[in-house]
């Protein structure tokens, strides 16, 4: 039936295989905690943090290691107890960059909570706690949540969207969070609504994850200001712009933010972190990460202490059953390829995907046959092939006119192209070139 429907409607999105079956029913388990944890000073969008500990300092779970520096930045806390042994360059998601290294003493001592949880808080104090806890967009964007929650006074917010549409293949971290922590999530949603003073929140879910849909439905029963919106399983359903359009009918203006259309979108994992910070006084020190993909022997969902190297998780999955060809931080459509397993899990690490060499290799490019599939699957209605052509012809003006800067990097065009033209590579390059030109 889904297939038939697919034929008849305007497409705008691609049916990638969801490949979630190996992890979607596995309860989240505690990941082993390694001897050394690595905390990059920058694990968010914005300015890197300033270390406030020195080598030799003793830290506990929840001790502030580095504090936000500037408006758009976020505090970083230790996820173990132990000793700061080094502040040095280490492989991270963004190449070698400064990190605080903490040696685990395996005592797991906790620092004082951020506040006394028995005290009733007002919305301003709750927002401060979200900022203090170092919470950032945990769906992968890693934009500081407190900044998102404090739009300029001229931009009123009337709608909150909780993004549970986990549209990347393999990823089931958000799904498991909803299945296992539905009550806590609803509490998180209520806190966000209070902070934003909105009286409407939607929880957006994809229909392929029936279990989480049913559980969330039950959890919101007593809250008539929260509504579940089931969306078709289609990539990139979970993109912010797409969700806003589907749920509110509004379109974010070019170069604008969701706040421009009175909306805030928050990922479910972020919402859970808000619950922990505001209800329990816990800073952000752990998250759920899916480790999956064909080559992985036992794919799993883990509660991971932030700072845990990927290698630790690979071992906890019993390693590989076949040799991996690609290691991706994120999903197969938008994730970032990595070469080192020493890279630590950070606040935005929702899934680590491994692909076999054959599936990840690119095929030879052939001439465009004008099938127009790239136009059909583009969620923002671009003409990817024309932008790619303009870029390859060196015509940046044309690339810009055709909306290169509106591209959301979802990868659908390159995915679908039967001629295997690297459309997104070209569009990305065009974007960079246009931005560089503007800065001159």
């Amino acid at each position: 039936m889904k297939k038939l429907f697919h034929l008849m409607r305007k497409r705008q999105g691609a049916y990638t295989e969801d490949r979630k079956e190996r992890t979607e029913h596995r309860p989240v388990e505690e990941a082993p905690v390694p001897e050394y944890l690595i905390f990059p000073l920058s694990m968010h969008i914005g300015a890197p943090t300033k270390p406030i500990v020195s080598i030799g300092d003793h830290v506990k779970v929840g001790t502030l290691l580095a504090e936000k520096d500037g408006m758009i930045s976020a505090n970083i806390y230790s996820s173990v107890s132990g000793e700061v042994v080094d502040i040095t360059n280490h492989p991270t998601l963004n190449g070698d960059s400064p990190c605080i290294i903490v040696k685990n003493d395996y005592k797991d001592e906790s620092a004082e909570p951020l506040f006394d949880p028995s005290i009733e808080l007002d919305p301003t104090k709750k927002l401060q706690l979200i900022e203090q806890a170092g919470i950032v967009g945990m769906g992968g964007a890693t934009f500081p949540t407190s900044v998102k929650l404090s739009p300029p006074p001229n931009k009123t917010i009337d709608t909150l969207i909780i993004n549970g549409a986990e549209c990347e293949s393999y990823s089931t971290a958000d799904h498991r969070l909803m299945v296992e922590y539905a009550e806590e999530l609803v509490e998180g949603v209520r806190i966000l609504m209070e902070v934003l003073s909105v009286n409407k929140a939607y929880i957006a879910l994809e229909t392929n994850v029936h279990e989480s849909v049913a559980i969330m439905q039950a959890a919101i029963q007593d809250h008539d200001t929260i509504e579940i919106k089931e969306l078709e399983t289609i990539y990139p359903q979970g993109s912010e712009k797409n969700l806003i359009q589907k749920l509110t009918g509004r379109e974010v203006p070019p170069g604008g933010l969701p706040a421009d259309v009175h909306t805030v979108v928050t990922n479910v994992a972020t919402t859970y972190a808000v619950y922990e910070a505001v209800k329990l006084g816990r800073p952000l020190t752990k998250r759920i990460t899916t480790v999956s993909g064909e080559p992985i022997k036992e794919p799993k969902n883990f509660w991971v202490r932030i700072g845990t190297p990927i290698n630790t998780l690979i071992e906890a999955c019993d390693g590989f059953r076949s040799s991996p060809g690609k290691m991706i931080h994120g999903g197969p459509m938008m994730g970032k390829p990595l070469t080192s397993g020493r890279v630590p899990i950070t606040k935005g690490s929702s899934v680590i995907t491994f692909l076999a060499k054959e599936e990840a290799s690119r095929s030879e490019r052939t001439p465009c046959i004008k099938c127009a599939e790239c136009l059909h699957v583009c969620p923002v209605s671009l003409q990817p092939i024309l932008i790619s052509n303009a870029y390859e012809d060196g015509d940046l003006d044309q690339a810009e006119q055709l909306g290169a800067l509106d591209c959301i990097d979802c990868g659908n065009c390159s995915y679908i192209c039967p001629a295997k033209i690297p459309l997104l590579d070209n569009i990305r390059a065009a974007k960079q070139a246009i931005k560089a030109q503007k800065e001159d």
């Binding site: 379109e251 459509m333 390829p337 070469t339 046959i369």
Partner: protein, 337 residues
């Protein structure tokens, strides 16, 4: 894990399985239905025609790319598709040389000189069919009834009857007396003279369904092409449904709707443009049929609309998310190969 051999190409890391060659193969499979019909109705000579057209198309493409030192593309099967379309668009009486000429024209003049696959503005099979009709008309209009090849009974096509008398053709008053074939015959193709691939509408519809199921063509585009034909014939005939069906089921209309209007290279890429193109071709077809004396209006109509594709695509680009106006595509093709 520290592995230098891990791939580091940027996202997306997965690619859909379908390739251009696979798409062309699906079109070839779909075309097997009219081929089987053609063999059933007109005999084994059909296979000779197809063998010649396909072989010449592939050879012309191969030789051209060899001589001009361009990248070989015969493996993408698109020349095979063109060859099949050319043979299926001809009557069984077409001489062998017309088939070779049409293939050469389609591949060399229309396709390769514009830059090869994806670059040709005109539909190669349609262009070569129209070329034959204009310059060698007497050789390619020997339509015979199915199963009568041996006797070579020449027959007018139903369209010949409809458009024989232009004045009368506008009304439905006289066509009935001109011995129009029964609608069922038109549908099944049993006693209808015509191009070998056109005759059985049932087989064309089956091919249509196959192409939709394989997601090769968009289901609505052929319908947008047929719609104006339905509307105009109904209105001009005072809602005579039989007259309308005669038009829809006659000639190459449905064959073109499924295989020509949906051609990637010679039709627009924009969703709105595809509809304008199909509707425009439908209207032009009816105008040709009403005001021109011989069959083949579909071919002319498609070529005329092919010429408008760049204009259509330029102004009908989709509105980008968050923008008010559609962007304008100044250039639709690459400057460099």
């Amino acid at each position: 894990m520290d592995q230098e051999q891990l791939l580091i190409t940027p996202a997306p890391h997965l690619r859909a399985a379908r390739t251009s060659a696979w798409i062309m193969q699906q079109v070839i499979f779909a075309l097997m239905l009219p081929v089987i019909g053609a063999i059933y109705f007109f005999g084994w000579h059909v296979l000779v025609m197809i063998a010649i057209s396909v072989t010449s198309c592939v050879l012309f493409e191969f030789i051209f790319q060899l001589l001009t030192k361009r990248k070989r593309t015969i493996n993408d099967y698109s020349a095979v598709v063109t060859g099949l379309l050319i043979a299926l668009s001809l009557p069984i009486t077409a001489p062998i040389w017309t088939i070779i000429l049409a293939s050469g024209f389609a591949i060399l003049v229309i396709k390769q000189l514009s830059g090869g696959i994806g670059c040709n503005r005109f539909n190669p099979a349609v262009a070569s069919r129209v070329m034959l009709m204009v310059f060698f008309g007497e050789h390619v209009s020997g339509w015979v009834e199915p199963h009568s090849v041996a006797e070579a009974v020449s027959t007018a096509t139903p369209l010949g009857i409809i458009t024989n008398d232009q004045a009368d053709a506008l009304t439905s008053a006289t066509y009935a007396e001109a011995e129009m074939p029964a609608l069922l015959d038109l549908f099944l193709g049993t006693t209808i003279g015509g191009n070998i691939g056109d005759t059985s509408k049932v087989l064309i519809l089956l091919a249509f369904i196959y192409l939709i199921a394989r997601k090769i063509i968009e289901p609505l585009i052929p319908l947008w092409f047929v719609l104006p034909v339905v509307v105009i014939t109904l209105i001009t005939s005072g809602f005579d449904f039989e007259f309308m069906l005669q038009h829809v089921l006659s000639g190459s209309l449905l064959f073109a709707a499924v295989f020509m209007i949906t051609d990637y290279s010679s039709s627009p890429i924009t969703p709105a443009g595809k509809i304008v193109f199909a509707v425009g071709a439908g209207i032009t077809t009816v105008l040709f049929r009403f005001f021109y004396t011989y069959a083949g209006g579909v071919g002319f109509a498609i070529l005329i609309m092919n010429a408008f594709v760049p204009l259509i695509d330029k102004y009908l680009a989709p509105r980008i998310y968050g923008h008010i106006k559609r962007p304008i595509a100044q250039r639709l093709t690459r400057k460099t190969g």
